[in-house]
Structure formats: structure tokens, C-alpha cells
């Protein structure tokens, strides 16, 4: 499942025949290192690069949105409600309160990305820590941690997310907490299996013999070798997380009005599907584009790192 960093550098550090033939690289090229190779392979994957470009663009819009929206995203007009796509003033139409859709979609990227990506980031830290601990220490610690995690696997993720945020109540913070709870067990399970796979390797024994403490070994030898696959797995969760986070807002459990968020916008525009279907479907299209981009980029990253599923 994993590839020790040292070994992969030794294997891939040499010169590729294709590069040699093209005469682009000197015979004894300096090693790019593991991540250098991953980057190199990723750049040659057009699908992953396109997906990455879309993600970068959305992040850029999200960051800059307060300054670049064409109109005030909060200011509505009862006279100019539900304008169609391609309207002279409202290029992407206007919503049920007469607010500019384009401005709201741009500002909405902020919250949608934030509530979608944050749970995976937090879960990545907590889940990796728990999984590495369980995998490296083994024994009873492993049994107790992993059996507890099994309990959370007994809930389909959508159900768990909705159950938790339903019990906690609506709000951005609660929605992030619920989704984090959904992803921690999933990441921890992957981290545990990867760590268990390498804990009997010779270089771990060597570190032990050299007198390194368990904490140092986990931090240096284990972390360095397992973080790649865990990271790839975590990136594959972002897409699900975006859909779920916006889904919670869609149900009224996440972001509250009047803040623009794609899931919430989709919900409030449901009433408009007979009047102005194209505009009503726009926020969902945004979620879909971002979600599929994250999925394709994650696939590319997995191929580039040669992590098997």
C-alpha cells in the first residue's frame, strides 16, 4: 500500500529513458525527491491539471469576492426578482429577492468552500493522529480505538452528518463539527491500515535500535511514510464533504440566510423552478463543478503518487 520515501527516491531518482531520448536531462540528474516526482507526474496529467485550474480559479474568486462582485450581493429589489440568464444588468439572472445571482454565487464560493474543506482538514489532522497511534502502538490501544471507530462506520455518512447536526442545531460551526465527526473515523481507519502495514519494516526496527523514542519514530519514520496515502485519501473526501456541507445548508442545517452559500441558495430557489429553472439550477451546478474537480484532481494525485486504492 505504501512506498517508503527512501526506497521510492532510489527507484525513481535515476534518469527516465524518455527524458534521455529527448536529451533534456543530463545523465546524472539530481534526484527530484519523492514530492518532486509526484509533481512532475501530476503536471503531465491533463485532466488533473484542468481540475486543479478550476479549483484554483474558484479559490481565487472566493478570496477576492468581496472586492470583485459586480453588484452588492445582499441588496435586493422586489421589482427585479427572478430575472433570466443573460439579462442586461444581471448576467446570471437574479434570485427570488431580486439579488444579483452572479455576485451571490461568487461570494457564495467563500462559505461553500470553507464549510466543505474545513471538516476534511480538521479530520485529516485528528484522524491521522488517531490512526497512526492505533497502528503503531497496536495491542489494546488499537483494539479500543478501532472498535470505537467501527461504531461510526455503522452509520451511512449522510445519516450521521444529518443526525449530528440535527441534534446540535443549525449553524456553520455545528455543521463543521458534524462533518468532522463523519470524516475522522474514515481517515483514522485508512491511517491505521497504512501504519500497520509499515510498522514491522526494517527501518522502524533500525530507528528503535538507535534508541529513538516511540514518539520520535512516529513523527519521523512513520509519519513521513504514511502521510502521502492518507493525504490522497483525504483529498478524495473533499468532494463528498462539499456535497454534504452544502446539503446540510440545503436542508436548513448549515449556513443561515441572508449569507450566500450554494446549498442554501439552491434551497431558497426551489420555489422558482417553474418561473426560472435555469437560474434556480445554477448554485447546484457550482457545487457539482467544484466537487467533480476535487474528485478528478484527487484521482490524478493518487495516480501520480502511485497509491493503490
Amino acid at each position: 500500500m505504501t512506498q517508503p520515501v527512501a526506497a521510492s527516491v532510489a527507484l525513481d531518482g535515476g534518469v527516465r529513458t524518455a527524458d534521455l531520448a529527448a536529451g533534456q536531462e543530463p545523465v546524472f540528474a539530481p534526484s527530484r525527491g519523492f514530492w518532486g516526482h509526484v509533481g512532475h507526474r501530476l503536471v503531465r496529467d491533463p485532466v488533473a491539471m484542468a481540475a486543479g485550474a478550476v479549483i484554483l480559479l474558484v479559490i481565487l474568486v472566493a478570496v477576492l469576492s468581496p472586492w470583485i462582485t459586480p453588484m452588492d450581493p445582499y441588496k435586493g429589489s422586489m421589482l427585479r426578482r427572478l430575472r433570466p440568464l443573460g439579462d442586461a444588468t444581471y448576467w446570471l439572472g437574479s434570485d427570488e429577492l431580486g439579488r444579483d445571482m452572479m455576485s451571490r454565487l461568487m461570494l457564495g464560493a467563500r462559505l461553500s468552500l470553507f464549510i466543505g474543506v474545513t471538516p476534511v482538514l480538521i479530520a485529516f489532522v485528528i484522524g491521522s493522529a488517531l490512526g497512526i497511534l492505533a497502528g503503531y502502538v497496536g495491542g489494546w490501544t488499537n483494539t479500543i480505538l478501532m472498535r470505537t471507530i467501527d461504531v461510526f462506520f455503522a452509520f451511512p455518512s449522510v445519516l450521521l452528518a444529518i443526525a449530528l447536526s440535527g441534534a446540535l442545531g443549525a449553524g456553520i460551526f455545528n455543521s463543521i463539527v458534524s462533518l468532522t465527526c463523519v470524516f475522522v473515523p474514515q481517515i483514522a481507519r485508512v491511517a491505521e491500515s497504512v501504519t500497520t502495514g509499515i510498522r514491522r519494516r526494517d527501518y522502524i526496527d533500525a530507528a528503535k535500535l538507535s534508541g529513538a523514542s516511540a514518539l520520535t519514530i512516529m513523527r519521523v519514520q512513520v509519519l513521513g511514510n504514511v502521510i502521502g496515502p492518507i493525504f490522497v485519501y483525504a483529498t478524495s473526501l473533499i468532494s463528498v464533504s462539499m456535497i454534504l456541507a452544502s446539503g446540510l445548508s440545503f436542508l436548513g442545517l448549515g449556513v443561515r440566510p441572508p449569507e450566500p452559500e450554494w446549498g442554501l441558495m439552491l434551497n431558497t430557489l426551489r420555489t422558482a423552478i417553474y418561473v426560472n429553472p435555469a437560474v434556480a439550477a445554477l448554485p447546484g451546478l457550482c457545487i457539482f463543478i467544484v466537487s467533480i474537480s476535487f474528485n478528478l484532481f484527487s484521482d490524478g494525485l493518487r495516480n501520480a503518487m502511485e497509491v493503490r486504492q
Binding site: 472498535r147 470505537t148 467501527d150 461504531v151 461510526f152 455503522a154 452509520f155 451511512p156 455518512s157 449522510v158 445519516l159 444529518i162 443526525a163 449530528l164 440535527g166 441534534a167 446540535l168 442545531g169 468532494s239 463528498v240 456535497i243 452544502s246 446539503g247 440545503f250 436542508l251 436548513g252 442545517l253 446549498g263 439552491l266 426551489r270 423552478i273 417553474y274 429553472p277 434556480a280 439550477a281 448554485p283 447546484g284 451546478l285 457545487i287 457539482f288 466537487s291 467533480i292 474528485n295 478528478l296 484521482d299
Partner: protein, 317 residues
Amino acid sequence: MLLYVLKRLAYVTPVAFGVSVVCFLLVHLAPGDPLSAVLPADATQATIDEMRAAYGFDKPLPVQYLIWLWHVLQGDLGVSIATGRPVAGEVGRAVVNSLILASAATLIGFTFGTLFGFVAGYHRNSLADRAASALSVFGVSVPHYWLGMVMVIVFSATLGWLPPTGAGPDGSGNWRPDLDHLRYLILPAITMSVIPTGIIARTVRALVADILAQEFVEALRAKGLDEWGVFRHVVRNAAPTALAIMGLQLGYLLGGSILIETVFAWPGTGFLLNAAIFQRDLPLLQGSILVLAMFFVALNLLVDVMQTALDPRIERA
């Protein structure tokens, strides 16, 4: 085989116990008291205490849990705060509707998923293969609640072919197997089937490609078996895993149906959950989630056992 079943049961029991603890604690996660949502704001302390004692909330948590578990084991999930009716009955009715929808979606997903998966697995890197992998990426990336809306926009609002919401023409909460009710099932079932179609297609494709690359297929061909005969061997080898994935997908759909059921106003568990959340009907929330999670656990167990029965190699592994 019996030993294997017993072993799985021994493994599932603590998980089921953990699930019950999580469901029980859900109610206590809620800010304040489960009763605070139903009691009037100006209730006197005496009233509050009386209610707390009546519902047993004055006892320590572990005691409350044991009492709750005792009732649950007897099929008593408490009483809905909003309607005053027993939760078990409400959930029971909703589960039937959800099962109908989820089964229909799984069936569609399984049919198309295996079809695409087989074609793609047999013809690697062909156009069909690329279409199948595009389909599976689409299936896992599309926000299904949005897809549901788009379906309603296209097939109900624009074309007027199918009804947009509900489970039947009379607005009743019960689906019946007749033509009128079937029309109401089509849109939500197709929307829901997109996820399992993608996942099953991806799995079957990998399975078929893997099986075709094995030596026994070559041996079968070498001894002169026709392609149809070889195909039957491939199916026989792919079936246990494909069926297992289908079973798990049914569980996921049943538990994850809340968003699609909300879009289509389908009177199932998702719809019930939605109502429970917004009326802060915590017993109903707790009961529905417990039933759905236990169903998922049981389904997992069933899938494991069935898979082993179909493919004895798993037990030995």
C-alpha cells in the same frame, strides 16, 4: 459456515451496542434539555421538575440509557413529541416507503452498473470504458439533491411527463404497486440510482478486468470453451463481490435518502427525519436514526454472510 456466522455475530454485537449508545447520546448532545423545546418559556420550576421526573430525565445518564435500551429491546421507541403517537409506528410506515424507493434505485443502479461495468471490463480503454469511468465520476461527484431538482425541472416543470413530488396521486403517505403510483416513483428512483450506478460500474469493471487476466480464463479458452461459456465463468466469479456492493449500496441509500426524499417530498424516513429535526422532536429523531443504523448493521452482516456463502474462499482467508 455456522462458525463463521457466529463469529460475525460476535463481532457485530458490540458495534450494535455502540450504535445504541450513540443514538441515545444524540438527544443529550442537543443544547439544553430535550424537554426545553416542548415546555413553554414561562414554565415554573415545579412544572419543569415534574416533566423531567415523568420522562426520567432526573436520573443519572447510565440509568437513563439502561431504561431506554430496555424499552427499545421491547420495540418501544418512545412517543413523538410533535404528534403524541408512538415513534415505532411512525418510523415503521416511513421505512416501508424508504425501502421501496431505495430498492428501486438499487435495482436500477445494479442493472446499469453491471452492464456498464461488464462492457468496460471486457473492452479496456475503449470508448465504452471511458464512458463508464466518466459515469462513475459523475455519479460520485454530482450533488444528488441538485440532480433531483434538475430532473423535476426537465421532466415535470418543462415536459410535464411525470409528477414532481409525493408518493401517489391521492397525496397519501403510502406507496402502492400500481401504475399511478409507479409514475411517482420514477424520478426519485432514477435520481437516487446515479450513485450506485457509478460505484457498481467502477467495481464491476475492475473485477471483470481482473478475472479476465487470470490464468483459469486462458485455460478455459484453451480447452475450447466458447466465449459464452467463459462469460458464465466470469459472472460466477464476479457475482459475490458485485452482490455485496449492491447490498451495501442499498444500506447507504436507505440512510442517505433524506436529501432526495426532501426534494421529492417522498414520505419516507428522510422526510420524517427532516420533520423531526425542525420540530425538535428528539424521540422521533433518535428512533428513526436508531432504526436506520441498525438496519445498516444488519444489512452489512447479511451481505458478509451471503458473500461467504457464495464464495467460500473468503471464509478461509
